[in-house]
Amino acid sequence: MAEQETDKGRRCMLVAASTVAGGIAVGVTAVPFVASMLPSERAKAAGAPVEADIGKLAPGERMTVEWRGKPVWIVRRTPEMLDSIKQSVDKVADPDSNKAMQPRYAANEFRSIKPEYLVLVGICTHLGCSPVDRFAAQAEAFAADWKGGFYCPCHGSLFDLAGRVFKNRPAPDNLIVPPHTFLSDTKILIGVDQGAEGAKGAA
């Protein structure tokens, strides 16, 4: 009887140990399967940092480059445009850029490294449409006292010239500022953080 009891305990221990070890084996085996669904080297290569030449960008104009298959806007803002940003502070939902929709070095008044140059991912934070430019300060159908910014035609979200979303609009967040860095006064590298190691190597 006593022998049977010890056997029961021993079996229980062995089954538990085997189950745990087998579970680890299955878990580790799952790693390559889960990993295989991550972006491949090809996707990473296609999503590599993109260089933009801003030398020919005139004040008040916008250019678009493609990064990871998304449009990235670079806007060269005039002093008037910057001024409009200051005026919209009480109309936008997140004026101080508290939510992490931009790298830390762009979490400032103008949401940019240099106030003159705004870099944004041109995808509405609501449902993924690409907003259109409404840079001129004039009365618009969607806002009589429009000071200039972006307008999303899909669901009517409005953004100012720093990409900050206006209150009471469908989009919940400011437009995303992608990681970017200035290689020189006329070259921006999109996809690499300012001061990051890759900023020197990749070009």
Binding site: L14, S18, A48, G201, A203
Partner: protein
Amino acid sequence: MIKKIIAVLLLAPALAFAAGSDVPLDRAPINPNDMPSLQRGAALFVNYCLNCHSANYMRYNRLTDLGLNEKEILDNFVARFSGGKVGDLMKITMDLEDAKTWFGAAPPDLTVIARSRSSHAGSGADWLYTYMRGFYRDGSRPTGWNNVAFPNVGMPHVLWGLQGEQELKPAQRRAEGYMATVEKPVLTKPGKLSPLEYDRAVADLVNYLVYMAEPAAQSRKTIGMLVLAFLTGLIFLVYAMKKSYWKDVH
């Protein structure tokens, strides 16, 4: 159609003979853990092979496996082609149709050449090592070159400047315990490298080609050792469990 297939099957031994796989292969002195050798091999590959041959499935930035960083790869390998990115595949711009006119056959992609050249005569590395050292002068060929491992090869001797020129001369060779007289390539005009240095350079190149054919090969073996060690332990554990239950069964 069947007749054609049967003809092919019947011809198979003859074709195998024609492809020269009966040439004894030299063993390639390569070491997959020798990073400097792999790096030299990669440089040779990019400088000499990658002009006509592509490596369409290999990315430049994979060379980080060989202990190079992305900046080095970009400067030394990718920068040869304008506008290249470090994540690009090793493609070439040569038109395959042109190549066919020039060499009689389009130069094959080399990404997995080391795997495809394996046979029962030896590993793909051995074949490549013999091949790259087996070019000799042959006036009857359009390129002026022939090869002991690949008779009537279409490719000229690209490493000619390094090796020099060889010619076929009768020589004694040990074969299965007796001496046979065979035609053997002999160096007649030295190149930039001594024969020893040239063999080393070819070994580096072959080392790289073997790496490129299966970049995961080294991690495969490392992971394999860990897995087998784990399973060994698990076998003992499960065996003890089985034993303890089967005490009941008489």
